[in-house]
């Protein structure tokens, strides 16, 4: 690879991560470190994948990411939207995943009761 090729790749990847040029796109980031997996991130990940297949909606991706540091509140799901809004849900399980998907991702309704800030004292 040359420097120019790296730069081109970088631009493409950057646009992808930040959902440049997409409207109403979302990136569902799931904490998938050892702590997250131990707390049950796997069924949560699968639940989101299933929902995306079920609704067959474009521009929504599920991404496994590393530990965000809030290990006591895993599994953690962060919804990053194309307008830059970020929402962090904590202690998510399969049932909550469906709810978060249907309310937040599909309808744009934030579920305040599951927010990290609400749980943490």
């Amino acid at each position: 690879m040359t420097l120019n090729e790296l730069n081109a790749l970088r631009k493409k990847a950057r646009d992808h991560i930040y959902m440049v040029g997409l409207k109403r796109a979302a990136r569902i980031q799931i904490g998938y470190g050892t702590c997250g997996i131990a707390a049950g991130a796997k069924p949560v990940y699968n639940a989101f994948i299933k929902k995306i297949e079920e609704y067959n909606i474009p521009n929504v991706t599920v991404v496994k990411v590393g530990c965000m540091g809030e290990c006591a509140f895993e599994p953690i799901v962060e919804i990053v939207e194309s307008d830059g809004t970020k929402t962090i849900y904590c202690s998510v399980n399969e049932r909550m995943s469906s709810e978060i998907f249907e309310e937040h991702v599909l309808k744009g309704q934030r579920l305040d009761k599951y927010l990290l800030s609400k749980t943490k004292r």
């Binding site: 690879m1 040359t2 420097l3 790296l6 790749l9 970088r10 493409k12 990847a13 950057r14 646009d15 992808h16 991560i17 980031q29 904490g31 998938y32 470190g33 050892t34 702590c35 997996i37 991404v63 496994k64 990411v65 590393g66 530990c67 965000m68 540091g69 809030e70 290990c71 006591a72 509140f73 953690i76 962060e78 830059g84 809004t85 970020k86 929402t87 962090i88 927010l115 990290l116 800030s117 943490k120 004292r121």
Partner: protein, 606 residues
């Protein structure tokens, strides 16, 4: 609980010099008006508006002031904080939407953190190299290989002031220079991912969340010192990290970011993974190299240092995972930027794994120079259940405990050593009034006794003897002379052990002896355990706040508790087997194991 008002002060590179006096001015005002519980003032990372700094952001309302100075604080405090009238004249004029912080947990947990090492953790997909590249991944390597000479690379690392995060704090640039100066046909770069401290998982988080950053840094190091082969030594108990590293190495090779002729510079570099069996001593660099060579993981004599004669007898540079993770940002943003973060002698940030009796267990990254109090109480959320803070242990089994009086010490390598502890790799265990300090010392010593490789007699036998004594003390069979023997043994072990394990093993005992001698004395002369932990020295008693719910009496397996409904109950200590059931189910915490005198002391402190 949401603070009534939360004041964030930019502590980024450009605002930094002014932010401390500003914060202190706020704190002085807060104190003057006794608003400690309602208003907090903390220093945060860069706001991204550096030209107009310093900035202050006040919640609620997300009101931003810019270009403020110390003199304006009085006015802002009196008008905005006290009367809720923002001072129009000083407000920032312009669009501000970068930091859309929505709530307090994001404020305290994330805003006060400066993320360099963990910049990508929890944001990118570690299984996809493109996501790393999208966040400027491998740009630092490209820059180094296409624009810089190895000498320039080393001088940049030296200039950054980066010091090893594996525990010792040795200047990284200097280490690289030593390895470069050694002449040899073959040299090695080794990444130490053994991470053996109990309670530490910072390196694991980096490897699982952002494996490419370590690969990129190792290649940069290889170029600087003239090496073409890297090894990552990682414990087999980290299967997720191992798998992600393997995938990352595979992807990097496929794109030509590792392998032959990287960026057409003629530089070749390959990385292999070596699995360790998880012995603590294998984290020591010479033992680690012995283990990679297939020998038994035992430390070797230094000198010769690894930079001269290391792996397979060749010059070798060993760095910790977190040390490496700092390298790409240094080249992307410059050594001056890095140097501007942290303190004079310890630049950059440090990642800590916060655990023990703390509200928010987890991983955090703060600039060096942050105080322990800020880490434990502001970011960590303090001690749960209204218990009293007792001490914090840093540096794991090699470190020591730090008490309340010293919590305002800014964290850096040298300050922690001056306090009798050390930075270590970053485990931070918080202890409260229910923790017995003799028991803590015993816990760490038990660990080192297990982990000593047995090469040196003082480390092998001496630690065992110390442990015997501590066990005796915890069982109520100790005497005052034991404390002197502990100190003498500690001195001998420290002075006559070959490697860092033995040299530091007595530290937890020495520091608890120093700061909590009264607890030791309570164990050996009064035969009581102040925290109510050592079971031989404790007695379960029911206090006056018992509401007579009868729960404990119903659940005691040996029928040791008697009493009438709605009346204070009583434990027959002749029958009690100290199983702890009653204490854990009492709805009003009326059952205590602490001796009376110490209950009074803790009550007063609260």
């Amino acid at each position: 609980m949401l603070d009534r008002m939360h004041i964030l002060i930019c502590g980024g590179p450009d605002c930094k010099d002014k932010s401390i006096p500003i914060r202190d001015a706020f704190k002085a005002n807060i104190k003057k008006h006794h608003l400690e519980n309602e208003v907090s003032a903390v220093i945060t990372g860069c706001f991204g508006l550096c030209a107009l700094g310093p900035h202050i952001l006040i919640y609620p309302g997300e009101i931003l002031y810019s270009g403020v100075s110390e003199e304006n604080i009085q006015e802002i405090f009196e008008e905005h904080v006290m009367k809720n009238n923002p001072v129009e004249r000083l407000l920032y004029r312009g669009k501000f939407d970068r930091m859309k912080l929505k709530n307090r947990s994001e404020l305290t947990f994330f805003a006060q953190q400066e993320r360099i090492v963990l910049r990508n953790c929890g944001t990118i997909n570690p299984l996809d190299i493109n996501e790393y590249i999208g966040r400027d991944g491998y740009m630092a390597l490209a820059k180094v290989l296409t624009e810089m000479t190895p000498e320039e690379v080393i001088s940049e690392v030296k200039k950054s002031g980066l010091r090893g995060r594996g525990g010792g704090g040795f200047p990284t640039g200097l280490k690289w220079e030593f390895a470069k100066k050694s002449i040899s046909d073959e040299k090695y770069v080794v990444c130490n991912a053994d991470e053996g401290d109990p309670g530490a998982f910072m390196d694991r988080a980096v490897l699982e969340g952002d494996p490419h950053t370590v690969l990129e840094a190792m290649a940069i190091c290889g170029y600087a010192i003239g090496s073409h082969t890297g090894y990552i030594y990682i414990r087999a108990e980290y299967p997720v990290a191992v798998e992600r590293l393997e995938i990352a190495i595979g992807q990097a090779k496929k794109l030509g970011l590792l392998g032959k002729n990287i960026f057409e510079s003629g530089f070749d570099f390959d990385i292999e993974i070596r699995l360790g069996a998880g012995a603590f001593v294998c984290g020591e660099e010479t033992a680690l190299m012995a283990s990679i060579e297939g020998e038994r993981g035992m430390p070797r004599k230094k000198p010769p240092f690894p930079a001269v004669k290391g792996l397979f007898g060749k010059p070798t540079n060993v760095n910790n995972v977190e040390t490496f993770a700092n390298i790409p940002p240094i080249f992307l943003k410059g050594a001056d930027w890095f140097k501007s973060i942290g303190t004079e002698k310890s630049s950059g940030t440090k990642v800590f794994a916060l655990g023990g009796k703390i509200a928010n267990t987890g991983l955090l990254e703060v600039p060096m120079g942050t105080t322990l109090r800020e880490v434990i109480f502001d970011i960590g959320g303090g001690i749960p259940n209204n218990k009293k803070f007792k001490a914090v242990q840093t540096g794991g089994p090699s470190g020591g405990c730090i008490t309340e009086e010293m919590l305002d010490t800014p964290i850096d390598f040298d300050n922690l050593i001056a306090l009798g502890s050390m930075m270590g790799s970053g485990g931070m265990i918080v202890m409260d009034e229910d923790t017995c300090m003799v028991d803590v010392a015993r816990f760490y010593l038990e660990f080192t006794v297990d982990e000593s490789c047995g090469k040196c007699t003082p480390c092998r036998e001496g630690t065992k003897r110390m442990l015997d004594i501590l066990n005796r003390i915890c069982q109520g069979r100790g005497n005052l002379d034991d404390l002197n023997i502990l100190e003498r043994l500690a001195r001998i072990i420290k002075n006559s052990s070959l490697c860092g394990l033995g040299q530091t093993a007595p530290n937890p005992v020495l520091s608890t002896l120093k700061y909590f001698k009264d607890e030791y004395i309570a164990h050996v002369t009064d035969k009581v355990c102040p925290a109510g932990v050592c079971s031989k020295l404790t007695k379960y008693v029911i206090l006056d706040n018992c509401i007579g719910c009868t729960k404990c009496a119903k659940n005691c397996p040996v029928g040791a508790i008697t009493g009438n409904v709605k009346e204070k109950h009583k434990i027959n200590s002749k029958l009690c087997t100290k199983c702890g059931v009653c204490k854990s189910i009492c709805p009003v915490e009326a059952i205590s194991t602490k001796p009376e005198k110490w209950r009074a002391i803790y009550a007063k402190a609260n």
